[in-house]
């Protein structure tokens, strides 16, 4: 597929109501990390099998009018999907396959944590058609990993990466967090160096946010760790941008980079040219691009979110309650929010601006029948003035400063 066609393929109007992303949530973990406020549990192993049954059933029972839809991606997120026996993953995957048509070359991702899967398991994933592995490494510093209660070592993470390569995974993402308790700029530099040395196809780097009611929040309140230093976190982010750029990684979203294979030090520079060239071998996460393009997706499992036909809806959080509801033949939906035009426009803006390519005015016009430059003339002018966004004839996107201050940009687009 040619580059321009590919961009079109992920453009705004084509996918709507024709291709869809599927998400499956796995709420189980070996232990709970101190910073985590996800819907994940360390003591629910006993319900793994009934949970997988329930998810498979939810998928089969899915009554949405989507007979002619094809799935372009399937994502097993958690929690720790790699903790679940392969048979359960297979059961869910088969349910998806029989309920939805899989597009050719569908991207199937599974999140894995170090020390939860051996080579056999990884090979089995591969055999199932899982073609992308996302490993939660978080840090290449053992002391930091211990502080976070990650339950694995640096060696475990490297071992998993190598096993995954050996099992045939040629599209691997590594997840990292920066701004961690007691983490220094030097620690972070060392982590990035080791990450680059492994040459994964994809890197996700997230700034730590201390969430309410987490162990970490408690530790900080007690004075065990200092409060996060935003200036240091900003320095870390800028360091990452610089090091990854030098190492041949192209940033395509606030927190995401891909290795630009085959194009040397190819830089994504959409600003100066309206005729965009993207690398032909594209490791961008197609699943996550669905969110950022504000396109439809269906989520299955406890607390899973869906966006479909101008509504967002989500399931009950508790895995046990989820299983009970599904087993009784009831809907597991907890709540639903209609997305009117104004909300959809706002969400399209703040999700799309996360991408380095930003918002293409043509795509916006095709989707909403109006010119974003007119609608947001005041906001765009103000943000340009602040140096947070840049604009060409075709697009508007965040500046490097704008990426670090993205919330200051995003809230302005809310209705």
């Amino acid at each position: 597929m040619r580059a321009v066609e590919q961009i079109r393929a992920f453009g705004y109007n084509r996918c709507v109501n024709s291709e869809i992303a599927l998400f499956v949530f796995i709420p189980f973990c070996k232990i709970k990390c101190t910073y985590c406020d996800f819907n994940a549990y360390a003591n629910l192993a006993r319900v793994m099998e009934p949970y997988a049954d329930a998810v498979a059933q939810e998928i089969s029972d899915c009554r949405l009018q989507i007979a002619d839809l094809t799935a372009k991606s399937l994502y097993f997120g958690g929690g720790t999907p790699s903790l679940v026996p392969v048979a359960q993953i297979e059961k869910i995957l088969r349910a998806c396959e029989s309920r939805f048509a899989f597009a050719p070359g569908i991207e199937i991702t599974l999140e894995a944590n170090p020390a939860t899967a051996d080579e056999t398991k990884l090979r089995a994933y591969r055999a199932l058609g899982i073609n992308r592995l996302s490993i939660g490494v978080q840090s290449f510093d053992d002391a930091t990993l211990r502080r976070l209660n990650r339950g694995h070592t640096v060696a475990d993470a490297i071992e998993m990466f190598e096993l995954a390569r050996r099992a045939g995974f040629d599209n691997i993402n590594l997840d990292f967090i920066f701004g961690l308790p007691l983490q220094t700029l030097a620690d972070w530099r060392a982590t990035l160096r080791r990450a680059i040395a492994l040459a994964p196809e994809h890197l996700s780097l997230y700034a730590l946010k201390v969430e309410e009611h987490t162990g970490l929040e408690h530790q900080i309140a007690r004075g065990k760790y200092p409060k996060p230093d935003d200036d240091l976190a900003a320095d870390m982010y800028e360091l990452a941008e610089e090091m990854l750029d030098t190492a041949g990684y192209a940033q395509y979203e606030i927190s995401n980079w891909t290795r630009s294979v085959g194009v040397g030090n190819w830089k994504l520079d959409v600003g100066r040219q309206s005729n965009i060239q993207l690398p032909t071998s594209n490791f961008q996460s197609r699943h996550n691009l669905t969110y950022w393009h504000n396109e439809p997706y269906l989520g299955f499992g406890a607390g899973a979110h869906s966006f479909f036909e101008r509504a967002r809806f989500w399931n009950v959080l508790s895995p046990v309650e989820y299983i009970e509801k599904i087993t009784r033949g009831e809907s597991a939906m907890a709540d639903r929010e209609e997305i009117n035009r104004e909300l959809e426009i706002a969400e399209t803006m703040f999700l799309g601006l996360r991408l380095n390519e930003g918002i293409a005015f043509e795509n916006f016009a095709q989707r909403f029948g109006e010119d974003a430059r007119v609608r947001y003339a005041k906001e765009i002018e103000e943000l340009k003035e602040m140096g947070l966004i840049e604009m060409s004839d075709a697009r508007v996107w965040l500046t490097p400063r704008g990426r670090l201050l993205s919330n200051e940009v995003f809230w302005r687009f809310l209705p």
Partner: protein, 601 residues
């Protein structure tokens, strides 16, 4: 009703010493309210009163009580506000009574406000019925406290009633003592009418309703009456008593407490302390003690949303219907736009009005730090009054500034004398006197500027004395002081609403503390923001808010866009609550920062 069977009384108590609970018990025991109709704090009908456990408006209730002597008595209980802000209102309510039940908490002892109100009561020759309350609490020291009362109030120990308003112990004794000890009103029904107004409220059906005590003569309905201070003539549309709801009657006789409905639209026409007489055959002299309400503390109220200005004006108009002491005049601030300079009796009054505006009228307000009224003598010989620091003329124009000084009384255990003394001296206070209340507690008297008293003084006093000290104050006089205006510059621009008047010797310390505080409360902007305090053209303090470099949401997990959007909405709403000044967003609390200065001397 025979005048000799009337008893008019009030209850004096410090906050939380049990006044409301005792009132509830009296209403219950006299059958004024059936038990099933009782809610706690029956008399305190405002939400704020119940929440804060205080009485803001005076109220009255008439109870019928058949005493042990077989006679049915009419007891008129006037519920008075306890706070020092309302001392004048209290004095008018006391003037309507012949006796007071003095309630002292058996665990806490006598407090400053108790004593201040007691002195007021003695000034009005009221008979005191002393009560030690909460005797059933484990930490109660009824004998010790009774001893304290005996020493301080000169009441015979055997007359002090031990009670627990909560369980009802002693209520019967209190009722008997009221009848036996408090004298009936000495009122002459043959003289021309004189009725003392001790409060008023606005009723949408009856117009302004005056709460009155008939001092002389008789007040029947449908007769032309006259307000003696203004000469305003009106009809007594309805007269009656509070039981506790208004119940209309034919007349109020000499010595009785009740209400008269006037049909007036403006509560300001019926001023507390004024005297009502008849148009025909009027009294020659009013009841003494009348003084028009005079605000002492001033603050600017501004709507956060400029569009809400008319709403704020309407809300103030409505509050004013029931609050004659509230004043407000339009004012403009370069920083905050259009608003009102409001005058209050004191800080509590300010706080109450602000909370009511925000709650009952759903307004988002920015209140500037409170100020006092300065008298400024200019070189030209002109004297002006200034109640807004922003309007203080340039130092070069000023010959002299006078500010209000207060008498203050601090009651504290003697261990904290040093702490209280320290605080007062850092607030320019000077020592006046010290009296031992008993072996462990003292009363300290000082004079100090009101401007120092309204800047976080009470909270500081409480924290330095571990909550033990209590405070009372009253106006002393105006005195010349070496005062200067401190301007605050945010991002190089002067913000008028942040300026303050301080004593010259404190300019550096206050300026530094204010800059430091503002640095904490003004959120980081995308560029460094200098904050400076300046005296005349000279910078006396400076801080810099570092630039905001990072504002990113965490991972948007599994497509939970709703949560993400909600967080952004919160951020947007937060921005809306701030005032944009130049290119800097200043939040509401910055304008009150002056109140919370942490001066590390």
């Amino acid at each position: 009703m025979d005048q000799s069977h009337i008893r008019n009384l009030c209850i004096i108590a410090h906050i939380d010493h049990g006044k409301s609970t005792l009132t509830d018990r009296l209403l219950e025991q006299t059958g004024t309210l059936a038990k099933r109709d009782m809610v706690e704090q029956v008399m305190d009908q405002m939400d704020l009163e119940r929440e804060k456990g205080i009485t803001i408006k005076a109220k009255a209730v008439r109870m019928s009580y058949r005493a042990r002597d077989g006679i049915e008595y009419e007891l008129n209980l006037i519920d008075t506000p306890g706070h020092v802000d309302f001392t004048y209102e209290v004095s008018r309510a006391l003037a309507a009574c012949e006796g007071a039940v003095l309630v002292v908490d058996a665990t806490q002892g006598i407090e400053a406000q108790t004593l201040a109100n007691l002195y007021l009561a003695l000034e009005h020759n009221l008979t005191i019925v002393p009560v030690v309350n909460k005797i059933d609490l484990p930490s109660a020291r009824p004998d010790e406290i009774a001893h304290e009362m005996e020493n301080l109030l000169a009441v015979p120990n055997d007359q002090i009633i031990r009670a627990s308003a909560k369980s009802g112990v002693g209520t019967a004794d209190i009722l008997e003592a009221i009848v036996a000890r408090i004298p009936p009103p000495r009122a002459d029904s043959t003289l021309p009418l004189r009725a003392l107004i001790f409060d008023s409220k606005y009723d949408s059906y009856k117009g302004v309703v005056a709460y009155v005590r008939v001092v002389d003569g008789e007040l029947p309905k449908n007769k032309k009456i006259k307000l003696m201070s203004s000469g305003l003539e009106i009809d007594a549309l309805e007269v009656g008593a509070f039981r506790p709801k208004m119940v209309a009657g034919e007349t109020l006789i000499a010595g009785e407490v009740g209400y008269v409905a006037t049909g007036l639209k403006n509560v300001r026409d019926i001023q507390v302390g004024d005297t009502i007489t008849h148009s025909e055959n009027p009294a020659t002299e009013p009841v003494p003690g009348f003084r028009p309400a005079k605000p002492m503390v001033f603050a600017g109220f501004y709507p956060t949303e400029t569009n809400d200005y008319p709403l704020l004006r309407d809300a103030l108009d409505k509050l004013k219907l029931n609050d004659a002491s509230l004043t407000y005049d339009p004012e403009t601030s370069a920083a905050l736009g259009f608003g009102f300079r409001c005058g209050f009796l004191g800080l509590l009054h300010l706080e109450i009005v602000q909370e009511r505006l925000e709650r009952e009228y759903d307004l988002d307000l920015i209140a500037t730090a409170p100020s006092v009224e300065y008298h400024v003598l200019k070189h030209t010989g002109e004297i002006i009054t200034v109640d807004n620091p922003a309007e203080m003329p340039d130092g070069s124009e000023i010959l002299e500034i006078e500010e209000p000084w207060m008498h203050i009384q601090v009651f504290t255990p003697k261990d904290y004398i040093g702490a209280a003394m320290d605080l007062v001296t850092t607030r320019r206070g000077t020592f006046d006197k010290m009296e031992y209340l008993d072996e462990t507690r003292v009363m300290l008297g000082y004079v100090m500027p009101l401007s120092e008293l309204i800047i976080d003084f009470y909270d500081q006093l409480k924290s330095r004395t571990r909550g033990y000290a209590s405070l009372d104050y009253s106006f002393a006089n105006y005195r010349a002081s070496e005062l200067v205006k401190l301007n605050v510059l945010v991002n190089e621009e002067s913000v008028d609403a942040l300026s303050m008047i301080v004593h010259k010797d404190y300019a550096y310390a206050r300026g530094a503390a204010l800059c430091k505080k503002l640095k904490e409360v003004i959120p980081q902007q995308q560029f460094p923001v200098p904050i400076q305090a300046a005296m005349g053209g000279r910078i006396v303090a400076r801080e810099t808010i570092r630039a905001l470099r990072k504002d990113i949401l965490a991972k948007c997990y599994g497509g939970d866009v709703t949560r993400k959007r909600k967080l952004l909405e919160k951020q947007k709403a937060g921005k809306k609550r701030m005032k944009r000044f130049g290119s800097v967003d200043i939040p509401q609390e910055a304008f009150m920062a002056i109140l919370k200065l942490d001066e590390n001397r």
